[in-house]
């Protein structure tokens, strides 16, 4: 009777031990497979130069987010103080309206940047690529032949002529960009190097250029607030 009970306890212990090991084994396998899959799917196929460029972009993006945190913190504090003293900081609200107006192209701006002059025939996608690369280099405002541009402004080839938001434009194309001249120049040089085989491109750095053209905001007819 006693020996059978001891036997049963011993067997239960063994089963427990095996189960525990199986559990740990399973856990380790999952960790192994998951960590492997994560590296495989995202980064394993990349060369180190691409990874280094990605790190550079991530650092810049994170530093921007950090600056945004500071700016938002200051706005929060200013609004709170105005409310505490019984008023409201209308100037701060209007300042933010202006910032958003600059971003959406509805406010005239000035600042350092580049004036890029292209003499000759170019395709719509070549201009779109150049604008995309300049935006990637931190461009904050654009105008092309007297029209203000943001990312959603259509540039198309219609009946052999380039159009900006349905307005026909022709060579020479004068693109004015505000942003960090150093970074913009690098992006502009790359675009220019591919264009220069066919057309004439000149890039002038400006310490202060004005973009006085403004966009009319696109009316939102289909889009409703809230998700």
């Amino acid at each position: 009777m006693l020996s059978r009970s001891v036997d049963r306890t011993a067997r239960a212990q063994r089963i427990f031990a095996v189960s525990l090991i199986a559990l740990v084994l399973g856990f380790l396998m999952v960790v192994q497979i998951r960590s492997q899959a994560r590296v495989d799917e995202s980064l394993a196929n990349q060369d180190n130069t691409s990874i280094a460029l990605l790190i550079n972009d991530l650092n810049r993006g994170n530093s921007d987010l950090l600056q945004q945190t500071v700016t938002l913190g200051q706005r929060q504090e200013a609004l709170r103080q105005a409310l505490a003293s019984g008023g409201s900081d209308t100037a701060a609200l209007n300042h933010e309206v202006t910032v958003l107006g600059v971003v959406s192209g509805t406010v005239p701006v000035h600042g350092p940047g580049l004036e890029i002059r292209i003499q000759g025939s170019v395709q719509d996608f070549e201009l779109q690529d150049a604008l995309n690369d300049l935006r990637n280099a931190g461009a904050e405002a654009f105008s092309l032949n007297g029209y203000r541009l943001i990312a959603s402004t259509p540039i198309a080839l219609k009946d052999g002529a380039l159009t900006v938001d349905d307005h026909r434009i022709s060579s020479p194309y004068v693109l004015r960009v505000i942003g960090d001249p150093e970074r913009l120049q690098t992006a502009a040089d790359i675009s220019a190097s591919s264009l220069q085989t066919r057309v004439q491109v000149s890039i002038d750095r400006k310490t202060d250029l004005a973009i006085t053209e403004v966009l009319t905001p696109r009316p939102l007819i289909y889009a409703q607030l809230g998700s």
């Binding site: 609200l93 904050e140 939102l220």
Partner: protein, 241 residues
């Protein structure tokens, strides 16, 4: 005896596998920096760390934005001037992608195709490139899109598309992986007409047929979009006073 032997054998096998896995796991941990593999791993780990940091910072920005907006609402109740400014502010936020939106529209999907492994084909046409997404987005804007997202990332007035190796980047270093989904809010027939136009995206459509990129779209009654997950900072452009 036989059952006990089989139990011992099971335990031994399990322990062996365990130690094997443990060892594999340990080997994949950072090894001395003279090792090239270790350097590669450290570089890749830096990306993962920076991406985690980006997510934390972005969540912090979103939280602060919500707090600031609550304070703005309170301010707007204090004076008519503040109320007018607040209305302009809300309108401005909608224009630049800082508000959640919904509405009818279209959803376009596409993914990388199969590598034909043909030594004569060096076109990389089976890969979806950042320019393909850029062209799709531009086409939708040109056909009346009021708001656009790419894999849930809001396309803003300053959004750019780029790449790092095999990854497509949007909104400064947000890595996108396929399948890609481009959504737009707007008039569904107008958006669809743009995509159906044989003169538009001709090269991408042909690559989709050849390499199986499965470029397709469908009208949607309700597209929901989250706001842009950061805010805007002007470092160089100043309003003309």
């Amino acid at each position: 005896m036989a059952p006990r032997a089989s139990v011992v054998a099971s335990i031994s096998l399990a322990a062996f596998l365990l130690s094997l896995l443990g060892a594999t796991q340990l080997r994949s941990q950072p090894v001395p920096p003279s090792n090239r593999f270790a350097r590669d791993q450290v570089l890749r780990q830096s990306v993962l760390d920076l991406e985690a940091q980006r997510q934390r910072l972005s969540a912090g920005v979103r939280q602060l934005q919500a707090q600031v907006q609550r304070l703005e609402d309170d301010s707007a109740r204090r004076s008519s001037a503040a109320q007018a400014a607040k209305i302009d502010l809300d309108r401005g936020r909608m224009q630049v992608g800082l508000s959640a939106l919904h509405g009818p529209g279209i959803t376009v999907t596409i993914h990388d195709g199969a590598n034909p492994n043909d030594p004569n084909d060096r076109s990389l046409g089976w890969i979806v490139h950042y320019q393909d997404l850029q062209d799709l987005v531009n086409l939708l804007w040109a056909h009346g899109a009021e708001a656009v997202t790419v894999n849930d990332q809001r396309v803003t007035p300053t959004t750019s598309f780029f790449y790092a190796g095999v990854n497509i980047l949007v909104n400064t270093a947000s890595r996108l992986t396929g399948p890609y989904q481009v959504s737009a809010i707007g008039d569904p027939p107008q958006l669809e007409a743009g995509l159906n136009d044989a003169n538009q995206l001709a090269e991408l459509k042909s690559r989709s047929r050849i390499y199986g990129l499965d470029l397709s779209w469908k009208r949607v009654n309700r597209v929901s979009m989250r706001p842009y997950d950061a805010s805007f900072l002007l470092k160089y452009a100043q309003p003309v006073s």
